[in-house]
């Protein structure tokens, strides 16, 4: 019953969204056709679609998207995994938390893209500097959410585990890890979003390839339609990441996902 309700609700909203997109696209096309909007700034959707297909055929779009995705992936692995591990240990040990948290609190609010020049001075203008900055962006959300996830586990659960004779490894695998998993997944989603954001930003500033670089090149050569294509692809990536991670959360943490959708 409940499932059906949700599905119908989603479908209704989905149709509505599609309808609005359709309506806006038609209006846009018409308005440019009549000449009320300059096609230099607002190329009509038909031109954008043609450009999209052209860019796929000449491999430019796939190539650049692949580069961006690879950077996001590397950044997520190199920043996210240490964030996860440190988050788990900081959530577990109050002392470690007190020791390290000031640095986290200071480092987290810095816009990671602002560190890029410093990183480039240290590591050069190559690929590694870009990955380091993306990794830094992915590091903090996972760490902070994982630590919070461990800290919010009720002391009763530790008492139960202890009462039934759980050893340290079992306490970790059966209490700490699953107990913090829902927040950990929220952290992962945020990390992925930030990694994508910073990857695009880094590419805008200093890259030959990637969606951000493509975007910047399109601006420099005033190919507005390419600019729109790279923007749309970036947006679709973001939407896909969120959708994928929501599904993952439902699958991995069904006891919490129930309340979140």
């Amino acid at each position: 019953m409940k499932e059906n309700h949700r599905l119908f609700g989603f479908m209704r909203e989905g149709w509505l969204t599609l309808l609005i997109i359709f309506f806006v696209t038609i209006t846009w096309e018409l308005v440019v056709y009549i000449g009320w909007l300059s096609s230099l700034f607002f190329p009509p959707p038909s031109v954008i679609v043609v450009t999209f297909i052209k860019l796929i055929i000449n491999n430019k779009l796939v190539d650049n998207t692949g580069v961006t995705l690879w950077r996001v992936f590397l950044g997520l692995v190199l920043g996210g995994i240490p964030g996860l591990i440190l988050g788990l240990t900081m959530g577990w040990s109050r002392r470690l938390y007190l020791l390290i948290n000031p640095f986290i609190a200071a480092g987290h609010p810095i816009p990671k893209i602002a560190i890029l020049p410093l990183i480039m001075i240290i590591f050069g203008i190559g690929e590694s500097s870009k990955i380091i900055v993306i990794a830094m962006a992915a590091f903090f959300p996972l760490l902070i959410n994982t630590a919070a996830g461990v800290q919010q586990i009720s002391p009763i659960h530790f008492e139960v585990a202890k009462n039934y004779g759980a050893k340290l490894t079992k306490i970790f695998t059966r209490v700490i890890f699953p107990g913090s998993l829902p927040l950990m997944l929220t952290g992962l989603r945020l990390s992925l979003n930030f990694a994508l954001l910073v990857a695009i930003a880094v590419e805008l500033v200093s890259a030959q390839k990637g969606l951000g670089a493509m975007n910047w090149l399109a601006w420099q050569t005033l190919r507005t339609e390419e600019l729109y294509v790279s923007l749309i692809v970036t947006a679709l990536l973001g939407i896909f990441f969120n959708f994928f991670l929501q599904r993952l959360a439902v699958y991995l943490a069904p006891w919490k996902a129930e309340q979140r959708i």
Binding site: S154, E159, V160, A161, Y164, G165, K170, P178, A253, W255
Partner: protein, 261 residues
């Protein structure tokens, strides 16, 4: 009474003092009592008298400041001496009914098959056969407490410790669960130490009632309950039941008044 095994428990002059910012607080003072094999002992006392502290001491979650807690039987390899049933929130939200019930067995290193074989009869006994793979949030509060009881029995401890397990249930569910508990207990003959603030509950369930004083808690009176088993709800109308209830209530009232100054 059919006595199986040689379980049993002795508390000798157990005291517990908590260190707080405002100086030491004495929670328990010189508590001594003995629980025979297969005996069901209920402890009543004013709130804040250290009942939960006493259970945690027996469960080994806290160390007594002085005195001894002795089990009549040496702990066999890996078998927990005690299993605590908490008032609520004692179940792991991330485990299914089966995962929760089999937790004690899992901690003892039993394989999946054996865990299932040993758990199933108890899941059936508490009437949850159809909910084996459900998560706690999908169950009613009463069903969750049944899971908690099944988990404790499956772990096959020497002594069962229950901390107001039915405190948060409505009156009808409470009565039903009390009878179910007595039934399972008759079939398994465990020592039970059962904490409650409900005098009727104590008289209905127990072989003996220990009445505790206000903080620092110690045993003020020991009242054997003469009613034969199996009992049903009609004993609550017997004149001696009502008299005993009145007697215990008078003691508690006195203690509550004392503690309020």
């Amino acid at each position: 009474m059919n006595l199986t095994g040689h379980s049993g428990l002795t508390c000798q002059g157990v005291s517990k003092t908590y260190q707080t910012k405002n100086g030491p607080i004495s929670a328990l003072k010189d508590v001594s009592f003995h629980v025979k094999e297969g005996e069901f002992v209920c402890i009543v006392g004013p709130s804040g008298c250290g009942k939960t502290t006493l259970l945690k001491l027996i469960a080994g979650l806290l160390e007594p400041s002085s005195g001894h807690i002795l089990f009549n039987q040496d702990s066999q390899d890996g078998i927990s001496r005690s299993a605590l049933v908490f008032q609520e929130h004692g179940l792991f939200p991330w485990m299914t009914v089966l995962g929760n019930v089999a937790f004690g067995l899992e901690m003892r290193g039993k394989g999946r098959k054996e865990r299932w074989d040993l758990s199933r009869p108890f899941i059936e006994k508490v009437g949850l056969s159809g909910f084996v793979n459900n998560y706690p949030h999908e169950l009613s509060v009463g069903m969750r407490q049944r899971v908690g009881i099944a988990r404790a029995f499956v772990a096959d401890p020497q002594i069962l410790l229950m901390d107001e397990p039915f405190g948060s249930l409505d009156a009808q569910t409470k009565l039903i669960l009390q009878e179910e508990l007595l039934k399972i207990w008759r079939e398994n003959q465990k020592c039970v130490v059962y904490i409650t603030h409900d005098i009727e509950e104590a008289l209905f369930l127990g072989d003996r009632v220990l009445v505790m004083t206000a903080r620092p808690g110690h045993i003020r009176e020991e009242i054997p309950i003469p009613f034969s088993r199996p009992r049903d709800l009609s004993i609550k109308e017997r004149i001696d039941f009502v008299k005993m209830k009145g007697h215990i209530w008078k003691i508690l009232e006195e203690e509550v008044r004392n503690s309020c100054g």
